[in-house]
C-alpha cells in the first residue's frame, strides 16, 4: 500500500517552493500532482511535462473526415446516378461543401474525444483529491514511495502548506 499526502497552499509561489524542496529530497515529478480550480500560466508549476497530442490527433481526424465526406458526397453521387439534363453526375461544388463540413465535424468530435482519451476521463473512481479545495488555493498530492510520511510532512510545513491530509491507496495507483 502506498500513501499519498494531500497538501493545500495559499499561493502558487508556496506550491512551487514545496515542489522544488520535494524534488531536492528525491521525490520525482511523476509522484506529484498539482490541482487547481483555475488553469495556471503555462510553465508556472512544471509537474506535468507529458506531450499533448491533441492537435495532431485533430489533424489526422480532419484528414479522415475529408475522405469520409468525399465518399458520402462523390461516392454516393456515382453509385446512385441522377441524370439531370446533361449536367455532370459528379457535381464539384456540393462535393467540396460536404467534404469541408464533414472534415470540420470529424475534427471537432475527435478533439473532444482526444481530451477524454489523454486525460483518462471519465474516471469516477476514488482518487487522491480534496473536494474542499478553495478557489484561490493550489493543491498538491505526493505519492510516497521512498521518503516517509513524516519527512514529506516536514518539507510541506516548511513550504507553508495550510492543510495536510494523508490518504492510503492501493499500490500502483496514481495520485
Amino acid at each position: 500500500m502506498t500513501s499519498t499526502i494531500l497538501a493545500q497552499f495559499a499561493s502558487p509561489e508556496d506550491a512551487a517552493t514545496a515542489i522544488a524542496m520535494l524534488q531536492q529530497s528525491g521525490i520525482q515529478r511523476e509522484q506529484m500532482t498539482v490541482f487547481s480550480r483555475v488553469p495556471l500560466p503555462e510553465g508556472a508549476l512544471e509537474v506535468d511535462t507529458s506531450k499533448v497530442r491533441i492537435p495532431w490527433i485533430a489533424l489526422g481526424a480532419a484528414a479522415a473526415g475529408a475522405a469520409i465526406g468525399f465518399a458520402i458526397a462523390a461516392g454516393t453521387m456515382w453509385l446512385y446516378k441522377l441524370p439531370t439534363g446533361g449536367k455532370p453526375i459528379l457535381a464539384g461544388p456540393p462535393i467540396l461543401i460536404i467534404t469541408y463540413e464533414i472534415t470540420m465535424l470529424t475534427a471537432l468530435i475527435t478533439t473532444f474525444l482526444a481530451v477524454l482519451w489523454e486525460t483518462r476521463l471519465p474516471d469516477w473512481r476514488r482518487k487522491a483529491y480534496d473536494p474542499g479545495l478553495p478557489a484561490e488555493a493550489i493543491g498538491l498530492a505526493v505519492r510516497l514511495d521512498t521518503l516517509t510520511v513524516s519527512q514529506v510532512e516536514d518539507i510541506l510545513r516548511q513550504a507553508r502548506a495550510q492543510k495536510q491530509k494523508i490518504t492510503v491507496q492501493e499500490a500502483g495507483a496514481t495520485p
Binding site: 500532482t33 498539482v34 490541482f35 487547481s36 480550480r37 483555475v38 488553469p39 495556471l40 500560466p41 503555462e42 508549476l45 509537474v47 506535468d48 507529458s50 499533448v52 491533441i54 492537435p55 485533430a58 480532419a62 458520402i72 458526397a73 454516393t76 453521387m77 453509385l79 446512385y80 441522377l82 439531370t84 457535381a91 456540393p94 462535393i95 461543401i97 460536404i98 469541408y100 463540413e101 464533414i102 470540420m104 465535424l105 475534427a107 471537432l108 468530435i109 478533439t111 473532444f112 482526444a114 481530451v115 477524454l116 489523454e118 486525460t119 476521463l121 471519465p122 474516471d123 469516477w124 473512481r125 482518487k127 483529491y129 473536494p131 474542499g132 479545495l133 478557489a135 484561490e136 493543491g139
Partner: protein, 452 residues
C-alpha cells in the same frame, strides 16, 4: 427570523442561480413551459389537419417558418463569434460572456433545426434526409442546398455543444464538490471525474485551441450555406453572389444583439452587476455598431447590383417590395441602421444599459423583418399573377411558441450550470494586478500565451 445570507464571494454569487431557486424563477419556467406547450399543441394540430392551415401556398411556398429558420440560425452565430474569436484574440473582457453566448448558440440552433421539420408538413419522413444505406432506392441528393444545410447545421450544433460542455466541465466539478445528495450525483456524472490536475488543464487548453480555430470557419460556412438555399436558386433577387457575406453579417448583427439582450436580462435577474459592467457593454456595443454598418453596406450592394443589372425581373421584385411592403421596409431599415448606427456611435449610449436593451430588441425585430422581406416578396412573383401571403394564427403561434421554448431551454440551463464561467472569471482575476503609471493606479493583466 434570520436575515437571508447575501452572496459575497465570486463563487457564492456565480453559483447562487444554480443552487437557489426563487419563486420568480419557477414562475418564469411555468410561463415559458406554457409557450412550449402551445408550440407542441399547435404543431400537432398542423400535422393532423395538414399544411393548409399555414398561409403558404403557390407561389409563396416559403413563409414565416423559413423566415424563422434563417433568423434562428443567425441568432446562433454570436455565440461562436464572441467565444471563439475573442478567445483567439485574447480579449480578456470576454470572460463573463462566453458561456452565456455559447449556450445561446446551442439552443438557438436547436430551435432553428425545428423549423425545417415544421415546414416539412409530413415530419415523419424527415429521416429520408439522413445518409445511411436503406432499401428505399433513393439517396439524399447532395446537389441540392438543403442537404448542405442539414450537414452544416448538424456540424455547427455538434461542435458548439461539445465546446459548451468542455468549457463547463471544471464548473461541474466545482458544483460536485459544493453539493450533496442527488445534485452531487448529477454533477459527478457531468464532471467526468475532473480534478483540475495540470495534465487535465493543459489538455483542455489544447482542445480549446483546436476547437476555436476549427469552429470559426464553420460559423462562417453555416450561414453562407443557408444563404445558398436562396442564392443557388434562379428566383429573382435571390440569385446573387453577395447573399453569402450579406447573410453572415446579418447573422452577426442579430446574434450580437441577442447576446447583449441576454446579458442585460441575466445581469438583472442574477445580480451580476459586478461581472457584467458598462465596460462589457461598451466593447460589445462597438462590435454591434460595426456589424450594423457592414450590414448596411451589403444591403445597398445587393440592391444596387440588382438595380444596375436592369433586368425586368429584378426591378419587378424591388418595385413589389416597395409598393406592397413599404411600411415593413421602413421599419426594417430604421431598426437595423436608422436607429442603432447613430446611437451606438456614442459611448454614453453603449454604456447605458436600458438603451442598449431597447436597441438590441429593435435590431432583432428589424432582422426578422429583413429575412421576411427577402423571402416573401421574391416568391410572390408568380408566372401569371403576383401571389399574396399572410401568416395565419398557426404560423404565428408556432413562432412565439418557439421563442418561448428557446427561453425555457435557456432558463433551465441557468439552473444546470453557472451562466457565467466561474473558472474563467477567476482565472481573469488572478491574472490582474494594479500597477502605478505616473499619478494613476491602472489595471494590468498577464499576457495570455495560449488559447483557452
Amino acid at each position: 427570523m434570520p436575515e437571508a445570507h447575501r452572496p459575497t464571494t465570486d463563487e457564492e454569487v456565480l453559483l447562487a442561480p444554480v443552487l437557489r431557486t426563487t419563486w420568480k424563477y419557477a414562475a418564469l419556467v411555468g410561463l415559458l413551459a406554457g409557450g412550449f406547450a402551445t408550440l407542441i399543441l399547435v404543431w400537432g394540430y398542423q400535422i393532423l389537419t395538414g399544411m393548409g392551415v399555414a398561409g403558404i401556398n403557390r407561389p409563396i411556398a416559403w413563409g414565416v417558418y423559413i423566415t424563422n429558420f434563417v433568423f434562428w440560425v443567425g441568432i446562433s452565430h454570436a455565440g461562436t463569434l464572441i467565444s471563439a474569436i475573442l478567445r483567439l484574440t485574447h480579449a480578456d473582457w470576454r470572460r463573463p460572456i462566453t458561456r452565456a453566448a455559447e449556450a445561446m448558440t446551442v439552443f438557438a440552433l436547436m430551435i432553428a433545426g425545428l423549423f425545417p421539420l415544421v415546414h416539412l408538413g409530413r415530419v415523419w419522413v424527415f429521416y429520408y434526409m439522413i445518409p445511411y444505406p436503406n432499401t428505399r432506392t433513393i439517396w439524399p441528393n447532395y446537389r441540392s442546398p438543403l442537404p448542405w444545410d442539414m450537414t452544416a447545421i448538424f456540424t455547427y450544433l455538434t461542435g458548439s455543444s461539445l465546446f459548451l460542455f468542455l468549457g463547463a466541465i471544471p464548473d461541474f466539478a466545482l458544483l460536485r464538490d459544493r453539493t450533496t445528495g442527488w445534485p452531487r450525483r448529477i454533477y459527478s456524472l457531468l464532471s467526468l471525474g475532473w480534478r483540475g490536475t495540470q495534465a487535465e488543464w493543459r489538455r483542455l487548453r489544447a482542445a480549446f485551441g483546436v476547437m476555436t480555430v476549427v469552429i470559426i470557419p464553420v460559423f462562417v460556412s453555416v450561414h453562407t450555406i443557408v444563404s445558398w438555399d436562396f442564392g443557388m436558386s434562379i428566383v429573382p433577387h435571390w440569385h446573387a453572389t453577395i447573399l453569402a457575406p450579406y447573410f453572415v453579417i446579418g447573422a452577426v448583427l442579430s446574434g450580437v444583439a441577442a447576446v447583449i439582450t441576454l446579458m442585460i436580462l441575466l445581469r438583472r435577474a442574477f445580480h451580476l452587476e459586478e461581472y457584467l459592467t458598462a465596460e462589457h457593454f461598451d466593447n460589445i456595443g462597438k462590435i454591434l455598431l460595426a456589424a450594423s454598418l457592414m450590414w448596411t453596406y451589403f444591403y445597398i450592394t445587393d440592391l444596387w447590383a440588382a438595380l444596375a443589372a436592369g433586368t425586368p425581373e429584378e426591378w419587378d421584385v424591388v418595385h413589389y417590395q416597395v409598393e406592397r411592403y413599404l411600411p415593413l421596409l421602413i421599419v426594417m431599415l430604421a431598426c437595423n441602421v436608422g436607429l442603432p448606427a447613430p446611437l451606438l456611435a456614442f459611448r454614453k449610449v453603449r454604456r447605458h444599459i436600458p438603451t442598449m436593451l431597447a436597441l438590441t430588441l429593435v435590431i432583432n425585430v428589424g432582422m426578422w423583418l429583413e429575412r421576411y422581406l427577402i423571402i416573401v416578396p421574391s416568391l410572390s412573383r408568380g408566372r401569371i399573377t403576383w401571389g399574396q401571403y399572410s401568416p395565419t394564427w398557426v404560423e404565428l403561434s408556432i413562432t412565439f411558441g418557439a421563442l418561448a421554448t428557446f427561453g425555457l431551454l435557456y432558463t433551465l440551463f441557468t439552473k444546470l450550470a453557472p451562466i457565467l464561467s466561474v473558472w474563467e472569471i477567476r482565472e481573469g482575476r488572478e491574472q490582474e494586478a494594479k500597477r502605478r503609471f505616473g499619478d494613476r493606479q491602472v489595471e494590468t493583466t498577464i499576457k495570455e500565451t495560449v488559447i483557452g
